[in-house]
């Protein structure tokens, strides 16, 4: 049975690609494409579940393909199985959603063929990445994944800014790819046909400098895919312009593959390392978390806001993993386990609620035609289901109990709080700073999502498009509802999945699972001596009290009548949308508090009446925040490349005679060189 799942998966995706090539339009075409993706993802999900349930890895090696590089080697161990499950969980709702969402691409400007083909190819490549077991396989499918996602990003190529975003994405993905190539060649000693098994066994013998170099290259290469600051700049550009279900897949799954790669290299292939590895990961995680949320706060494009939040959550995941690496280097295995479990659980949770939020943002975009929050409002009454699911996603990402975001953040907190058990105080001091930054992140995330949900859905519509919005079709609602259900479910009964994380980490080399690691019955407990919490009982308690209050009010006859009247708002005579708070205004206090970081530029021009300065014709005010990295790092870098490219342009003068001269010079040089050698 299990051996049929892989061919089944490939078959399903191929059928999806064929359906897309056939036409991809119309109800039939779109749903066939989606069906291919759904079945393929389901097969991958089943494979992952089977591997984790049985505890034995599944392997396959077709020496026929890529024989020059040792064949297409695939192996699913528990870590890969977990990521297969993650891909399946997000891909199935995304595909269902996409089938209905891509209906509005049938206007002729966008190619549904490309969308459907690349979607299935993308999912296939992602599944193969987590199954890859040899150097060449991994790099090949990684590149396939980057390319197919590039085509997905530029689907709406008629929109301004899409091609530029795609170009940035492609460039950054390939810079990362270069790092990965160097990294794997270093690890395998130059052997293109090396399998992961041989790398793993050879890694212990590598000199320390090489190991450190591999780690740093992994951090850079996989980090650029994951979206670590400062390699994150492609995220806020690419995710908003992609179609919404693709954004959900990219934000939910693609960036997690960066985490997969980091875990695979650092924990599995290299088997853990010195303390400074963990501190570096922790540091980058903390910085990404805080900077991600700070820039998210200032956004009023809904999808860019969500993209920056992905950067923030990757930061939180890295904080968990970094803490785990630090504990592992000191041999505190239980605590290391806690850190890794926190990181992995947050990976799963983030995939679910970020996927949900992007699908919700897509529904809003679909209904109102705009991504700009300042033009929305009042959607809770016009799109009640979308609003409800988006609210669940927003509450989950703000780590509010009893949803799933709270569970994983609690675990990461506990891992960091255990830092006092580290023997060296100068390292232990890093932990409280990380705790402070994590707390700041979660507070700011809550503020940001009050803004995102409140301005988008509540109060009065700020534009006619928002006024005329209507609820989205059933498949889209179903997809969002499924993810929302998972958010709530994983929050209320997390103990159903937490035992499996122990198994996953234990399989990676370097961690030995203590016999009674965690007791996950009703409670989440950290027997390293720290905290205990029962999310199930909290949820039950909250529901009980929520139900009891109206009952008590009825008993004590405090249920007076309710009258609907116009808003008070201090007695103004007509309420217009101009009187509401705007997104920019909402974030303004925080902008002032963190002004040193944001360095907003402000431009104010007042046009006075010619006769008197007391009368004003018009006032123009504009304020802009340019993300620091783009200004300071990428701007100059792009400038250097432009300069170099401009110099090279001198060679292209357009004169045919000059080109013939170049050819003849090159020919003569080659002949000379060949004669000498």
């Amino acid at each position: 049975m299990i051996s049929n799942l892989f061919p089944g998966m490939v078959l399903a995706y191929s059928l999806g690609m064929l359906a897309a090539l056939a036409s991809g339009r119309g109800v039939m075409g779109r749903w066939l494409v989606a069906l291919g993706a759904i079945l393929g993802a389901a097969a991958g999900l089943a494979l992952g579940v089977a591997v984790i349930a049985s505890g034995t890895p599944w392997a396959m090696n077709t020496a026929a393909l890529f024989s020059f590089a040792g064949g297409l080697a695939l192996r699913v161990d528990s870590l890969g199985a977990f990521f297969l499950i993650l891909i399946g969980i997000v891909a199935i709702p995304a595909a269902v959603y996409g089938a209905s969402y891509s209906k509005h691409y049938e206007d002729g400007h966008t190619s549904l063929r490309q969308l459907g083909l690349m979607l299935n190819l993308f999912l296939l490549c992602m599944s193969l990445v987590v199954m890859a077991d040899s150097l060449f396989t991994f790099l090949f499918v990684w590149e396939g994944m980057s390319l197919s996602s590039y085509f997905l990003v530029i689907t709406e190529n008629s929109q301004p800014g899409t091609m530029r975003a795609g170009l940035w994405y492609l460039a950054m993905a390939h810079i990362g790819f270069v790092f990965l190539v160097i990294l794997f060649l270093l690890a395998s000693g130059g052997d293109w046909a090396a399998s992961f098994a041989s790398i793993r066994s050879g890694a212990a013998g590598l000199p320390d400098a090489v190991r450190n170099a591999i780690f740093l290259l992994a951090l850079a290469g996989f980090g650029s895919k994951a979206g670590i600051v400062p390699l994150h700049v492609w995220l806020p550009m690419a995710h908003p312009v992609a179609p919404s279900h693709i954004s959900a897949l990219m934000s939910g799954v693609l960036i997690k593959l960066g985490i997969y790669g980091l875990l695979r290299v650092a924990l599995d292939l290299l088997g853990g390392g010195p303390t400074w590895w963990g501190v570096v990961v922790l540091g980058f995680g903390a910085i990404s978390a805080v900077l991600g949320v700070l820039y998210a706060l200032m956004e009023h494009d809904l999808k860019r806001l969500l993209a920056y939040h992905s950067v923030e959550n990757i930061g939180i995941i890295l904080m968990g993993i970094g803490a785990g690496l630090v504990f592992q280097s000191y041999g505190l295995m239980t605590l290391a386990m806690l850190g890794f479990i926190g990181g992995l659980f947050h990976t799963l949770n983030h995939a679910i609620f970020k996927g949900l939020l992007f699908l919700g943002a897509g529904s809003v975009l679909h209904a109102t035609g705009t991504r700009n929050m300042e033009e929305m409002g009042g959607l809770i009454k016009r799109m009640p289901w979308t609003a409800l699911f988006f609210l669940i996603g927003a509450a989950a990402i703000s780590a509010l109990p009893p949803l799933n975001g709270f569970i994983s953040e609690w675990l990461v907190f506990q891992a960091l709080l255990s830092g006092f058990q580290l023997p060296r105080p100068e390292v232990a001091i890093v932990m409280p700073l990380a705790v402070g930054m994590l707390a700041l992140t979660s507070g700011l995330a809550a503020a940001c999502f009050v803004k995102a949900f409140g301005i988008t859905f509540l109060a009065i519509p700020r534009s006619t498009e928002a006024e005329q919005a209507h609820e989205v079709a059933l498949p889209m609602r179903l997809a969002m509802g499924l993810l929302a259900f998972l958010c709530v479910g994983l929050g209320v009964v997390p103990f159903t999945v937490t035992p499996f994380f122990t198994q996953i980490i234990a399989e990676l080399s370097g961690i030995s699972a203590p016999p009674t690691a965690f007791n996950f019955n009703w409670t989440l407990q950290n027997t390293a001596g720290f905290g205990q919490m029962s999310p199930t009982l909290i949820a039950i308690g909250l529901l009980l009290i929520l139900g009891l209050i109206p009952l008590c009010l009825r008993i004590f006859r405090a249920n007076q009548k309710l009258r609907v009247s116009s808003t008070w708002g201090c007695g103004y005579t007509g309420q217009t949308p101009r009187m509401e708070y705007t997104a920019t205004a909402f974030a303004e206090p925080l902008r002032r508090v963190f002004a040193q970081l944001y360095r907003p530029t402000r431009e104010l021009s007042i046009d006075f009446h010619p006769d008197s300065k007391y009368f004003v014709h018009s006032i123009e005010y504009s304020s802009e925040i340019t993300p620091w990295f783009e200004k300071v790092i990428y701007g100059p870098l792009v400038g250097v490349f432009r300069f170099a490219a401009n110099q090279f342009r001198r060679l292209q003068s357009g004169s045919l005679h000059l080109y013939l001269l170049y050819i003849s010079i090159t020919l003569i040089l080659l002949l000379v060189v060949a004669r000498w050698l």
């Binding site: 029962s534 909250l542 808003t567 206090p589």
Partner: protein, 313 residues
């Protein structure tokens, strides 16, 4: 079984005493203003009246507006059941630790901020924006203060922290605990909306933070929200009293111990109420953009608390 009943009883005790606590603070402030003031049980009369009044809501408000008072009240009451006031090492102790308390309170703040935005008024939006700013900036302080306490106790569970301080009385005067107390005190003033951060008795909308979000609420909804904010004050006072000076808490289930614990707890609450009332009388309200400076002072205190806990372990 008796343990669980006692846990629920502690929550109900909080529910019953919270309006009285608010009333006592107001009464002391009135006396410090050289006037007689309303009797300390006035908030009970206010709540009773509010529950009997009609409700008027805006036509732009949605179901979120109507759900929020219940949600805020439930989450605050749930926290009140988790915080030890009279009895230590509750069975509820395994249900939620200090981090859970913080995030449950954040749940209430989150929904209240959304409800401020719902009717579409500028004042509500302003209140929401300011409230979330202060909540966000106060978070790191709370987390670090918890860290400082938890390092010495070996757990973030409230019962364990309290039990550890009871076992080693010297902990209570250690620099870590004293600094954490100072930091948490400032955060208490911020989170419960007291001067110098927010004036609970102001009528000027531009100076409001918490009040501005509830301008559109009336009747039983307003009663639930006012009760919840009184409960929040009670919870923070309980935390301050029982995490840092837990003597008097009952550790066994005898009526004598519970009675003594009750009296000692009321005494601690009265003392804290006096301190807060005196501070409120003495200081003027801070300008909004000076509040982050005050909160960063509390952050530094919390950081120092953690560092000293580490070094003096």
């Amino acid at each position: 079984m008796a343990n669980y009943l006692l846990g629920i009883g502690q929550g109900l005790l909080a529910l019953v005493l919270a309006p009285g606590l608010v009333g006592i603070v107001r009464w002391i402030k009135a006396r410090l203003q050289n006037r007689r003031g309303a009797p300390p049980w006035q908030p009970y009369l206010d709540l009773g009246k509010l529950f009997a009044k009609d409700v008027v809501i805006s036509n732009h408000a949605s179901w979120l507006f109507r759900l929020t008072p219940y949600l805020v009240f439930s989450s605050t009451l749930a926290v009140a059941c988790l915080v030890p006031s009279v009895f230590v090492l509750l069975p509820f102790d395994g249900i939620g630790d200090l981090l859970t308390v913080v995030y449950l309170l954040l749940l209430g703040t989150f929904f209240l901020a959304l409800a401020g935005l719902d009717p579409g008024t500028a004042f509500g939006g302003m209140g929401s924006s300011r409230e979330m700013t202060i909540a966000a900036i106060a978070e790191p302080t709370i987390a670090l203060a918890i860290f400082g306490l938890a390092v010495r106790a070996g757990s973030t569970n409230l019962g364990h922290i309290v039990a550890q301080t009871l076992a080693n009385p010297g902990l209570a005067v250690s620099p870590g605990h004293l600094l954490a107390f100072a930091a948490l005190f400032i955060v208490t003033m911020a989170e419960t909306g007291r001067l110098p951060i927010d004036n609970p008795a102001t009528h000027l909308e531009l100076t409001m933070i918490h009040e501005a979000m509830i301008l559109e609420y009336s009747g039983r909804y307003l009663a639930l929200i006012e009760w919840a904010s009184g409960l929040k004050l009670f919870i923070f006072f309980s935390l301050l009293a029982n995490l840092f000076a837990p003597w008097g808490l009952a550790t066994v289930l005898t009526p004598m111990a519970l009675l003594t614990a009750g009296f000692v707890f009321l005494g601690k609450l009265a003392l804290l109420a006096l301190v807060v009332a005196v501070i409120e009388t003495r200081v003027a309200k801070l300008r909004l953009f000076r509040v982050p400076e005050l909160l960063s002072v509390s952050f530094v205190l919390a950081l120092l608390s953690v560092i000293s806990s580490f070094l003096l372990r």
